[in-house]
């Protein structure tokens, strides 16, 4: 009857868990009943076992990928904020730079990754640049929008009290843009990971310091499909952890004043 009533905390946690377990059970059953070969589709139990046995080596690879993703995200934050602030200083600068930021965003990373890998000497650096290119735009565009979204009345107030451009930026524009920036950051967090993986795929590097993407490729070549799935599971988990962490961060920062973080029953 009342389908739109909000769910309690426990059902909200349990519902996806039950659904996921059910899904895995059906998957396992189908694989067994139809005797699907392991190199086509391994069952969840086998994947879990592989995750257990190969876990150490896969976690090492995940750490390599995560390092690239985090470095790219940090660079995206610093340069994205910097560019957004620079563009908010003058409409001229914004008009001159924004189209190029858009071009960078719409160019498929797989298409330019080979070039970057050729140009940059260091493989870590080239992967970092690729991941950064993907993660950079949401922060720039969201923060730019936020910096321009200051309340008109407050803007008048700052003019009335003869605020310097620096004061207006610090006390009005930056706080206004904070929720926008954090929304961009949540998107960029996931994108940095995707960017790192895509770049690794294109680079296809071997050797000791290889990331998770290379392990996926390698497992694919060797038809170690359970290992491939195990790597995918790790990647998905890492993505979820990054998203949840950034979401919590956003909530913590905004909880005292922003609509998005306030309890709904007020």
């Amino acid at each position: 009857m009342n389908e739109k009533a909000p769910l309690g905390r426990l059902p909200r946690l349990l519902a996806p868990l039950v659904f996921g377990l059910l899904f895995l059970a059906v998957w396992e059953a189908l694989v067994r009943v139809y005797a699907v070969p392991v190199y086509i589709l391994p069952g969840p139990l086998l994947i879990a076992r592989t995750l257990w046995t190969d876990g150490a080596s896969l976690l090492g690879a995940l750490w390599v990928t995560l390092r690239i993703a985090f470095a790219a995200l940090a660079a995206a934050i610093v340069l994205g904020l910097g560019l957004a602030i620079l563009m908010s200083r003058s409409r001229w600068i914004e008009a001159s730079l924004l189209p190029y930021a858009v071009i960078l965003q719409v160019t498929p990373i797989v298409a330019i990754a080979p070039l970057i890998i050729i140009w940059a000497d260091d493989i870590f650096l080239s992967l970092l640049i690729c991941a950064w290119l993907v993660a950079f735009f949401p922060i720039v565009s969201n923060t730019t929008l936020g910096l321009h979204s200051a309340d008109r009345g407050l803007d008048d107030l700052f003019r009335l009290y003869k605020a310097t451009p620096g004061q207006t930026l610090r006390y009005l524009q930056l706080p206004t843009s904070l929720p926008y920036f954090l929304a961009g950051l949540r998107i960029s967090g996931g994108l940095a990971l995707i960017g790192a993986v895509v770049a690794e795929f294109v680079a296809g590097t071997g050797g000791s310091e290889t990331g998770l993407a290379f392990r996926i490729l390698e497992a694919g070549y060797r038809l170690q499909i359970p290992r491939m799935f195990a790597a995918l599971v790790l990647l998905a988990l890492a993505g979820i952890v990054i998203y949840v962490a950034l979401d919590r961060l956003s909530h913590l920062v905004l909880r005292r004043w922003h609509e998005s973080a306030l309890p709904k029953d007020r």
Partner: protein, 255 residues
């Protein structure tokens, strides 16, 4: 006795889209007086206030301050139609803003902030966030912020229009109290006849298209005004006069 603080001569304002908002405004504002700008929506009252505040420049005429160097900043408080508080800052930080922009340290500003909040009965809410306050309380914070610089002149742009009547009455009385206590000069924009008569010593009635001064009416009520005044025959008669003049000005403009 009265000395002019501010003189507007032949002030006109044409917006970028060609709309003529104000035309030929001549007005002298005396030190320490409470002046109401009354008119229907779109008669340019808010624009006139923005010109006085220096938030916009007139396209013709001049706005001249008696004391040329004291122009605006710091000596002028402005209360907007909305409370326009910073939602991310506490009540005290919102009130601190004008002093912070003037370069005053938080320690030096503290007694001033406390004084301003006490003046609007919000002493206990210094640490609260704007969203935790009612509409009337937010407006009080806005007023505290406007007076924290100890301005000489206070400009208010229909500040109480969105509030319920009991809250509005209370804030009207508080504003009169502030005005007397701090010997402020007040220019109060409103579209309410009752509010203008209750508050002001002089009501300037405006008409629209373009915005001009239609007439001005002195309000010969005592400076000490309490809630009971609203029930008096004298108040009623004054409201009737102002109301008739306003209707005349509005009709004349519409014709």
């Amino acid at each position: 006795m009265t000395s002019p603080l501010l003189t507007l001569s032949g002030v006109g304002k044409v917006f970028a889209n060609g709309v003529e908002a104000l035309s030929g405004i001549d007005l002298t504002v005396n030190r320490g007086e409470f002046l109401a700008l009354l008119g229907a929506s779109g008669c340019g009252k808010s624009t006139l206030l923005r010109l006085i505040a220096g938030l916009a420049e007139p396209t013709s005429g001049t706005v001249r301050w008696a004391d040329a160097q004291h122009e605006r900043s710091g000596r002028l408080g402005f209360v907007f139609q909305d409370p326009t508080l910073m939602p991310w800052a506490s009540v005290a930080d919102n009130v601190y803003l004008p002093l912070r922009l003037a370069g005053m340290s938080r320690e030096d500003a503290k007694p001033r902030i406390e004084e301003a909040l006490a003046a609007v009965d919000l002493g206990e809410f210094a640490g609260a966030m704007p969203r935790e306050l009612s509409g009337g309380m937010r407006m009080r914070v806005s007023i505290a912020r406007a007076v924290v610089t100890r301005p000489e002149i206070l400009l208010l742009d229909e500040p109480f229009a969105a509030l319920d009547e009991p809250t509005r009455f209370k804030l009207n009385e508080d504003l009169l109290h502030l005005w007397r206590r701090h010997k402020l000069t007040v220019i109060f924009v409103t579209h309410s006849v009752f509010e203008s008569v209750f508050l002001a010593e002089r009501v300037i009635v405006m008409k629209r298209r373009p915005g001009r001064i239609a007439t001005e009416i002195a309000v010969p009520l005592p400076a000490e005004r309490a809630a009971g005044l609203r029930m008096s025959a004298e108040f009623g008669a004054l409201c009737r006069t102002v109301s008739e003049r306003l209707a005349l000005a509005t009709e004349a403009a519409a014709a």
